[in-house]
Symmetry: C2
Subunit: 377 residues, 2 copies
């Protein structure tokens, strides 16, 4: 198993990661507290342990109870036009947090990062960022409380905080965290400060004025933790609170639970642009299941849910918890067959994707401009 | 002897530097060519070998003869409010080049660099940059053809080219050129790309549109050569011509020719804010001379001009070449005394400084705004 911000390989042992990384598990006490504070049932991604770890979430909720302001920060590296269903997870959850707590969210599109790591032009990175922005808006963020920006577009405003962070961080620290070598570019070693800067409230004077005490909560996949360990190290030295984190597992590819879904292998992935027929075909052909080798065996022992991709994916995408529980019982005991569960998954995915397509089609250029408003003018 | 962009120590052997750095000496053939192309007598800093080395200056002049556009680029790190007379050299010369060739000049104030290297706040760096800008404007630049910018102010526009350069340059290359260690900040290793970006014409779309073929000439002290070796390495890979350089010696401190004048030792330095009395006192008390130990010895052997600070400084600041030659003959042969030469130097410096003060007093905030115009709006 290896987990870095750029690669996830092997079967991920999340308990081990919590221990290695030094973050904390999310328990029912914490989930209950969130429900009490928001007056809402917790999002299924939280109840089902997809968001499973955190840093300083209790301190953030303490501040919330004292009536202090805070904001959400998430983002995406726009390396591809074709988002897949896994990309929705942080945005679905962030959107829920936004409406549940009624807070601002800032969303960073790291077009500079993708330019530095991939074989793209600046212009292509910028174009992809704008396309991805439409997908993000389609997740339902509140236009009044959401600021989406690209690094190329917003650097004029971020640069003082980027340099403040850069001054805090020695090269050895970044090389240690991210595993860079001397042959890597000076852009790669400088970049982590660009991803850390939005965790400081003064990066957004149009939202928070010059207040340094506005806390930040970052919903992200656990592989982004190293970035924010660095940010948490710097923030107090710059007079800001440490950003809090709420961290998710990865969605695996269709073909098995090892690693993280990657758009580079289309048969392993369900894209947000796939047709219903494509989705059914991919789930039927490629989804790795824990069902028995024969019908007889399956009826006898049931499905091994812990290695079953449809079951894992249903946990992420099926909102109806009662139905999910029913499927778990029936499938795990062998009464429900693999083919039936695949149909359940395909139906849920088709619903998610079609709903997304419709929402995205409604995102005009004017809507994008409104979310990415040029705060410079 | 050691020459890096941050420290110059020991007696500098400029012939050796030309050889080590791989730049070229400026000879009379090249000076004659500049006079022919501009129809002007070359500036005394060029005729007297203060600007003594170059890279690709002939190629730039070829382009000029073909009627192709080019521009000047110079800058300053605003680490101190108190500029000294040595700081004037690149600006005096750049101003002459601007009027002789009638070209644009861009002037970078690296407030971010000073923040990264010195114990300053961002705000103090920005304030110093604006103060230094007044001193630069006072050198007489053409308001129609001059763009002065700070890195904090202009990064929003430079950033794409900064990242393009950063992607070209591996960490090992910067560490080799600048002698940084793993304990140095990620800001320091990334910064050289910020100083390289203005050598690419596309950094200034408001001046050059999207033309990539506009050549750049950088007048600077020889210690900045490493920065531009890196820029010259990257530029062709980004579709731009290599920036040409025209490079000066350093002005030594008053107390001897070793090293470079540094504002950190006030008695070694003449500031642009010094009074005439302070200047006379500093020259009299602190200037190291090559005069004889006794009057008799001086009359017999003459002054050793090659170690004499007043003589070196007169070469930089006395415009009247006939008078300078006369002083050289009389002083070198012992007919003129050290005290008399010190009076000559003090008079010249007082004239330079008083002229500068008067010009600076005329630089209002409105004038600064006009030179630093916010091209974002």
């Amino acid at each position: 198993m290896s987990v870095t911000p750029w690669h996830v390989t092997g079967r991920v042992d999340y308990a081990k990661i919590v221990e290695q990384f030094g973050c904390k598990s999310i328990d029912t006490v914490l989930i209950d507290r969130i429900e009490r504070l928001t007056g809402q049932t917790a999002h299924h991604l939280l109840r089902r342990g997809i968001f499973f770890a955190h840093r300083d979430l209790n301190e953030l909720l303490d501040a919330h109870e004292r009536g202090e302001p805070w904001y959400l920060y998430t983002g995406r590296g726009p390396s591809s036009e074709a988002l897949h269903v896994g990309h929705l997870i942080p945005f679905m959850f962030a959107r829920w947090l936004q409406q549940a707590f009624q807070v601002h969210i800032v969303i960073q599109l790291t077009d500079d990062e993708k330019f530095l790591w991939k074989d793209l032009t600046v212009e292509e990175s910028q174009r992809l960022a704008r396309e991805n922005c439409k997908d993000i808006i389609a997740c339902g963020f509140d236009a009044q409380k959401t600021f989406i920006f690209t690094d190329f577009g917003y650097m004029g405003h971020m640069y003082p905080n980027v340099v403040r962070i850069q001054r805090c961080v020695p090269m050895n620290q970044v090389r240690g965290i991210f595993g860079l070598s001397g042959e890597d570019s000076i852009g790669k070693i400088a970049f982590p400060a660009v991803q850390a800067a939005p965790a400081l409230s003064t990066t957004f004077p149009h939202l928070f004025g010059d207040r340094k005490d506005v806390r930040c909560l970052v919903p992200c996949a656990i592989d982004q933790d190293p970035y924010f360990r660095m940010a948490r190290d710097c923030a107090p030295r710059l007079g800001h609170p440490k950003p809090a984190l709420i961290e998710s597992t990865f969605l695996s590819g269709l073909r098995g639970l090892d690693g993280k879904m990657s758009a580079s292998d289309p048969s392993n992935v369900v894209f947000l642009s796939d047709t219903p027929e494509q989705i059914r075909a991919k789930v039927n052909r490629h989804a790795f299941t824990g069902g028995g080798a024969t019908l007889e065996e399956h009826r006898k022992h049931g499905a091994r849910l812990e290695v079953d991709v449809p079951w894992q994916w249903l946990n992420v995408f099926m909102e109806d918890s009662k139905r999910l529980e029913h499927i778990g019982n029936e499938y795990g005991s062998g009464r429900m067959l693999t083919g039936e569960v695949k149909v359940e998954l395909a139906n849920v995915l088709i619903q998610v994707v079609e709903r997304h397509k419709a929402a995205r089609a409604a995102v005009t250029d004017e809507v994008v401009d409104a979310f990415m408003l040029d705060v410079r003018t």
